[in-house]
């Protein structure tokens, strides 16, 4: 049972890491970025390629993946979101254009990496096993949890205390007022995407490290759960995304433990649906759901 709790926490940490990038863009810019899953997958493949071809050790691979992800985020913002700014149908069009960008990115990945799963070299990251209080964990899982926490806390600090973070929160409140007050909204928008995508790419590489391999469906498996996480956690709330990720991971593990694993697939969606219908602002969402 305790093992199941641990399982839930580790699964949840991946969900949370995926979700905070997602909710960052959602919270600050009100965009639902459906290309995030593709960037997640790209990060996984990039990490593997860096490990295999460039022989980068893990401590160098992750920052490199983050940089690649950030670059992808900048391209995404420039091509899929900026051209739509100010249009009446900005949010709907943004949804569609991010779907398009995601599709293009996956196609590019397939062109480069083919259709088979790619693996990290064996023993790339020492696969040590620990047993603590009857719970078995691998070093990779600990790394995942630790990295997830560090990144999430770092992001939270950034948003709350740094000048960039203040600018981001200003843009989230009222882009026009922010612009009037001298905030470079374009820079903040680009920066938000870069940050979000960098995080997403690292999350992908982390998951791939856990699994030992990456395949093109990696992002798709997480994406739908990602929706549930950001909704449960509340629009734009970073703490909410973290908490919700862990809660969902635990909920799934416990559903398998107490009931039938057949229903594990439903948990995330049932939770999401319930939240939207009963408490749309989620656990920690601030303002009421924005109308229109």
């Amino acid at each position: 049972m305790v093992q199941q709790l641990a399982n839930g926490v580790f699964a949840g940490s991946i969900y949370a890491l995926f979700a905070i990038g997602f909710t960052l863009v959602f919270g600050i810019l009100r965009h639902l970025n459906l290309a995030h899953a593709a960037i997640f997958t790209a990060g996984a493949f990039a990490g593997i390629e860096l490990a295999v071809r460039a022989d980068l050790p893990a401590w160098a691979m992750f920052p490199a993946v983050a940089a690649i992800g950030a670059a992808a985020g900048l391209v995404l913002e420039r091509t899929a979101f900026r051209p739509l700014a100010g249009r009446d149908d900005e949010h709907f069009a943004g949804l569609i254009s991010s779907i398009a960008f995601g599709g293009v990115l996956i196609a590019v990945l397939q062109a480069r990496y083919g259709t088979e799963p790619r693996s990290f070299p064996l023993e790339y990251f020492p696969n040590r096993l620990y047993e603590v209080a009857g719970v078995r964990v691998t070093l990779t899982q600990i790394l995942t949890l630790a990295l997830a926490l560090v990144l999430m806390l770092g992001l939270a600090w950034l948003v709350s205390s740094s000048p960039m973070g203040r600018a981001m929160r200003a843009v989230a409140e009222n882009p026009t007022a922010a612009r009037v007050l001298g905030v470079n909204v374009g820079l903040v928008t680009a920066g938000t995407y870069a940050l979000s995508s960098g995080l997403g790419a690292v999350a992908g590489a982390l998951l791939a490290l856990n699994l030992g391999q990456a395949d093109r469906g990696l992002g798709a498996s997480i994406e739908l759960i990602g929706f549930a996480v950001i909704v449960l956690g509340g629009l734009g709330s970073l703490w909410g995304a973290m908490a919700a990720g862990l809660v969902l991971g635990l909920a799934e593990a416990l559903t398998v433990h107490w009931f039938d694993s057949a229903w594990k697939g439903m948990v995330a969606f049932a939770v999401l649906f319930a939240v939207l219908v009963l408490r749309p602002r989620g656990l920690f969402g601030g303002a009421a759901v924005r109308e229109v």
Binding site: F26, T79, A80, L95, G103, F273, P280
Partner: protein, 564 residues
């Protein structure tokens, strides 16, 4: 020549049918993405009722399946809509996606569906059959566009608040589009089942939903044949690719993605707008306004009280935007409401028009009580109409269509009659058109009726909003800063228009900062400050009232402008 291409052509038809289920909700601006779930339910339930043998020896058994699928889809959409339709935008999208996934998992785990092993049925659907269904759907959507219902869809899509204020029952319109989408998705499910001969829960998954959405968007949701264009185009891409000999598998998703991106950025109305670009300039319908308005109940006699407010209050948290307002509005008067910015004028007027419910006090306007939210259309139906401080015109409709929406409360629904080309439908529509043209002429926009608001000057836009507000022959017309940004010539014309409205018996409530215009036009003045009504009465007297002077007007210095 076509033999051997049957499958491709049928695939285009099926893709179009799925896209129509998105098209109909996108027409109303709803991002509902539950179609995969509705299709799955329609498909599975239809397998329970579709006979194994052709009916009466030769009629396709799928004919039984289609209405069953449509009903199941519609019912599911209705049940889903009840809790979910209060959501908007991306939240609605996420909730509906979640529903689709839940249906898939449910069908996978339930006994009678045979789970992931799926069900096998006969392949009854032929090319002809599929295209007949497409033709029927296209026809239904074609007849919808220019009808009152179709315009209501478009209005809700463009601006829900404005649509409600023009009398459109927004909730019902959204639910209608939702249910229609469910029905079409159910039909798709049945067609899918009996074309492929086999269904599994995984057949109706997230990626199917994305395909349908992409097809609907690429084809376009503003023109009725968009889904057919979209489906044809997207099916052609891999075929063209093969013909060009480009083998690599990643080319096809790359091209589709780039195409989608290009369409949404440069041609948001979809490919079909390229084909529908040639707009026929709408021809003026020149009927006498009196004839047009004939048959409507007469306006109330002058002097009758048409609105009564007692102690009305609106709080937003700790902020009291409006407090303790007692006000009566009488038929035939031109009531000016003035005051500094933030005084609560617009909030007051939002309550009178039913857009916002008061948090305290009570009142009624033309028989409708102030109270619950979401009833703006009832007020409009009772005879209240308005313009907005920041113009809320429907941007993707031309001027004429904007005004036609305004006629919603007095126009008769014509959709069902249009399906059968009944002459009474044409008569009703001509009547509505006459109404609309009369208003356009009245504000001087008759020659610009074919233009979209974006192509009109600012002053013309303000006038268009007034025309739209007048099209429903309101009893009480609320104008929120209509003269903002106008020069004094335009303002004078506006003043003349307002006076002529009053002569026709329409009561006008005017919020304005142009004090000269207010003093010259209004029969009564009400002054607000900090949410309270500080003075009401005859304009000159109120203007001289020291409280008003202190709060707002100031004493005029020689030579100073009379605008505030």
């Amino acid at each position: 020549m076509l033999a051997g291409y049957d499958t491709l052509i049928t695939a285009i038809a099926l893709g179009a049918i799925l896209a129509y289920s998105f098209h109909i909700v996108l027409m109303a601006g709803q991002l509902s993405l539950a179609q995969a779930g509705f299709a799955a339910l329609g498909a599975y339930v239809s397998t329970l009722v579709v006979p194994v043998e052709p009916l009466f020896g030769s009629l396709s058994p799928v004919l039984v399946g289609l209405p069953v699928g449509a009903t199941v889809g519609a019912a599911a959409a209705f049940l889903l809509g009840l809790p979910v339709l209060r959501l908007r935008g991306v939240f609605l999208a996420i909730a509906t996606i979640a529903f689709g996934e839940m249906v898939r998992v449910f069908l996978n785990n339930v006994e009678w569906t045979n789970g992931p092993l799926g069900l096998r049925v006969e392949k009854w659907v032929t090319v002809d059959f599929a295209w007949i269904v497409v033709a029927v759907l296209a026809y239904l959507v074609w007849r919808l566009g220019p009808s009152r219902t179709g315009r209501a869809f478009a209005a809700v899509r463009e601006d829900e608040l404005a649509a409600g204020s023009m009398g459109v029952d927004v909730v019902r319109t959204r639910m209608t589009s939702f249910v229609a989408s469910g029905a079409i998705a159910g039909v798709y499910g049945v067609m899918f089942a009996y074309f492929f001969g086999r269904i599994t829960p995984a057949s109706f998954d997230f990626s199917l939903m994305l395909d349908g959405l992409v097809t609907a968007v690429v084809g376009g949701y503003l023109v009725f044949f968009g889904p057919v264009i979209g489906s044809g185009f997207l099916t052609a891409v891999p075929e063209i690719q093969k013909a060009l000999g480009l083998e690599a598998g990643w080319i096809h998703p790359l091209v589709t993605g780039l195409l989608l991106l290009a369409v949404i950025v440069f041609l948001p109305g979809g490919l079909s707008t390229l084909l529908a670009r040639v707009h026929r300039r709408p021809r003026p319908v020149g009927a006498d306004e009196e004839d047009a308005f004939a048959g409507l109940p007469p306006l109330p006699a002058p002097g009758m009280t048409i609105a009564r407010l007692r102690g009305v209050e609106k709080r937003y948290g700790a902020v009291r935007a409006v407090q303790g307002v007692d006000l009566e509005i009488r038929s035939g008067e031109i009531l000016g409401v003035i005051g500094p910015n933030g005084a609560g004028k617009t909030t007051l007027v939002n309550m009178i028009s039913g857009l916002v419910p008061p948090t305290g006090g009570e009142g009624d306007v033309l028989g409708v009580g102030l109270g619950r939210p979401g009833l703006a259309h009832r007020f409009a139906g009772a005879g209240v109409s308005r313009t907005f401080q920041h113009s809320k015109l429907f941007h993707r409709l031309n001027a004429l269509d904007n005004v036609l929406v305004g006629a919603h409360p007095i126009a008769r629904p014509t959709y069902l009659r249009r399906l059968f080309w009944l002459p009474s439908a044409r008569r009703d529509e001509r009547r509505t058109l006459a109404l609309a043209w009369a208003q356009l002429r009245r504000v001087g926009l008759a020659d610009r009726a074919h233009l979209r608001p974006g192509a009109l000057s600012y002053g013309d836009q303000r006038r268009l909003e007034i025309a739209r507000a007048l099209a429903g022959r309101p009893t009480l017309l609320i104008l929120d800063e209509p003269a903002a940004g106008m020069n004094h010539v335009e303002a004078a014309e506006l003043a003349a228009l307002i006076r002529s409205l009053a002569e026709d018996g329409i009561t006008v409530l005017l919020i304005e900062h142009n004090v000269r215009m207010v003093l010259e036009t209004c029969t009564r003045l009400a002054v607000m400050n900090f949410g309270e009504l500080i003075a009401t009465g005859e304009p000159r007297a109120v203007a001289a009232d020291p409280k008003v002077v202190e709060a707002y007007l100031g004493a005029p210095e020689p030579g100073e402008s009379e605008h505030v």
